[in-house]
Symmetry: C2
Subunit: 350 residues, 2 copies
């Protein structure tokens, strides 16, 4: 499997990405990497990390990088020579089968979405992310968390399939429980979008458990949560913000007196455990699903291990034939484009 | 000020509500309460709590109560004689100026929304809630968290005014920073609704700081966060779910060995502090703003103190003339209905 790795996007690149690639090459015997970035800079760092270009590790030049502070569309407009855009182009040209980046999420979505297009029968790609949850697997997957700000009911039906397959292939859950994120558990609750999506989802041969609420993401009630990308993104960032604020408040509370402070020191490892629950190290990154090719986007502050795992996830997706399975399942469920849209229309009329 | 208090809705009623009323009557000299519920039951409990009906405390009969498990519309359809519906009717008839309930939120919203209608110039009421935040006030207000699943840009503009006034009157913030909840900080980010709302908000004489993201609710970046009720409700419930899950994970982590467990025992008070941050005891409840009358909805598991504070908030709203101020400010900002809708239409065409 040949994977294009964006060596430049992210907070600690190229260093952490070179370490990640080193680990990944050792772990996956048939892996080949196209390391994309400023080749002069990369050559310098490769030497520092005692790594040399080889048949399995080729450098590909990209003059620029999309900075975290720039708008998402930079990858398509002002910086067509950026590392993420070059990665997408390598997949488009058939030189690589997947893209892995820990850079600007929006830029990666924009570049791969536009350059690679969607799979046959799939209308829109979706960004999936794993949230910590009180399930046996410890994780629930939410689709979409930001690839689309406007969605149709048919889009949500397709997202459900992507989430189901992710859950089956990566978390080994045989019959994932799929919930539709809404404002109440009753069937009739929701906005126009979710009400129409509910109609479609309840007719699909998936384990659809109906509407779920925000707290059901964490309480183990379901394995896959489907929502539009606007709602998913607000949810994700609110929860990230709350988690950060909680650690802040906790520190403040511990500092109030010596007894508390001593207690906190003794329980220190427990807080490390807690931090790890919200870390996505093990799972490596958020896949953009539904495009022709595989694209895994890791957190900007990913560790080498997290970035290595993102490469491993991309490799696994390719080996398991995730994309073929998405195409097949979308057809099987009768929600392939344009079928899904017609279904949605008839649901709307009811 | 005369306030109709729903004595039946909620997890620990009528007990906690009777205690709350007792405290409120002692705290607010000019307060009069119409205690609404099954009068037989209430009379029995009043005696137990050494309280007697008086000029300031009158019992009003309501045969039923909307249970937490029932749909929101129960208050309007199957149970027109429920305590919350009777409360709304008392305001409608001019016998009380406000409703306070710790019962079913959806039922309270439905009953007061439909029975009391909106203020002149206001198109839709909104449910406001205080979230813990790293601001000097320690709180940020989010409007709407669930009264409306579909909103127009003009609705959001009116919600901004309600949030601004709440922040000014209750949190004493002179010029609250108002943010529009979206998926990115840049002006052009968002869905159709927020993009159009952005146009209107940026022209209003309020301290509009532009788009904000989920984490900005907690990081002290703004005082008022505006969103549609679907997004706000998902955000609120996700955060509640995460907070609960965090305490669960924390307990598990502490139990792993004796050192951690001892540490946790020593730091016990700190966790109490942390719990209090997320508790809304001090602020008493979520107001449904924009209706003719005042309606404060407390948490189902409210303590007597929290319920008492909900009564105090209602009393303060009445005394400060919140509703007159909403009407005035909505007009002042040119977003009164139907003006706001026309504004939105012209923004849409741009």
């Amino acid at each position: 499997m040949r994977i294009a790795v964006d060596a430049m996007g992210g907070d600690y690149t190229p260093g952490i990405m070179i370490e990640a690639v080193q680990m990944a090459l050792a772990e996956i015997p048939d892996l080949e990497v196209l390391l994309v970035g400023h080749t002069g800079k990369l050559a310098y760092y490769l030497e520092r990390y005692h790594l040399a270009p080889s048949k399995r590790l080729e450098l590909v030049h990209a003059a620029t990088v999309v900075e975290m502070s720039e708008p998402s569309t930079t990858s398509l407009r002002a910086k067509k020579d950026s590392s993420i855009t070059v990665c997408a182009d390598l997949v488009k040209a058939g030189r690589a089968a997947a893209v892995v980046s820990v850079g600007h999420t929006g830029a990666a979505v924009a570049a791969t979405k536009v350059r690679l297009r969607t799979l046959p029968g799939v209308d829109r790609p979706a960004l999936a992310t794993l949230m910590p949850s009180i399930t046996p697997s410890g994780k629930a997957i939410v689709v979409d968390v930001g690839a689309n700000t406007e969605c149709t009911p048919a889009n949500l039906a397709q997202f459900a399939i992507m989430g189901e397959l992710y859950s089956q292939l990566m978390l080994k859950i045989e019959r994932p429980r799929v919930g539709l994120l809404s404002v109440g558990g009753e069937d009739a609750k929701g906005n126009d979008l979710t009400k129409n999506a509910f109609q479609i989802l309840s007719k699909m041969p998936i384990n659809f458990i109906g509407n779920v609420e925000g707290h059901d993401i964490f309480n183990g009630h379901c394995d896959v949560i489907v929502c539009d990308g606007f709602v998913g993104n607000v949810m994700l960032k609110s929860c990230e913000g709350l988690a950060r604020a909680t650690f802040h408040w906790m520190k403040q509370a511990f500092k109030k007196n010596a007894v508390r402070f001593t207690g906190a020191l003794l329980a220190k490892d427990a807080f490390q455990d807690l931090k790890q629950i919200s870390d996505s190290e093990e799972f490596g990154g958020a896949p953009l699903m539904g495009i022709k090719g595989v694209c895994i986007i890791g957190h900007g502050a990913s560790s080498p291990k997290a970035a290595k795992n993102a490469i491993r996830v991309a490799d696994t997706f390719l080996k398991l034939g995730l994309n073929d399975k998405i195409v097949q399942r979308v057809n099987e469920c009768g929600v392939n484009t344009p079928n899904g849209a017609l279904l949605a229309e008839s649901a709307d009329k009811k």
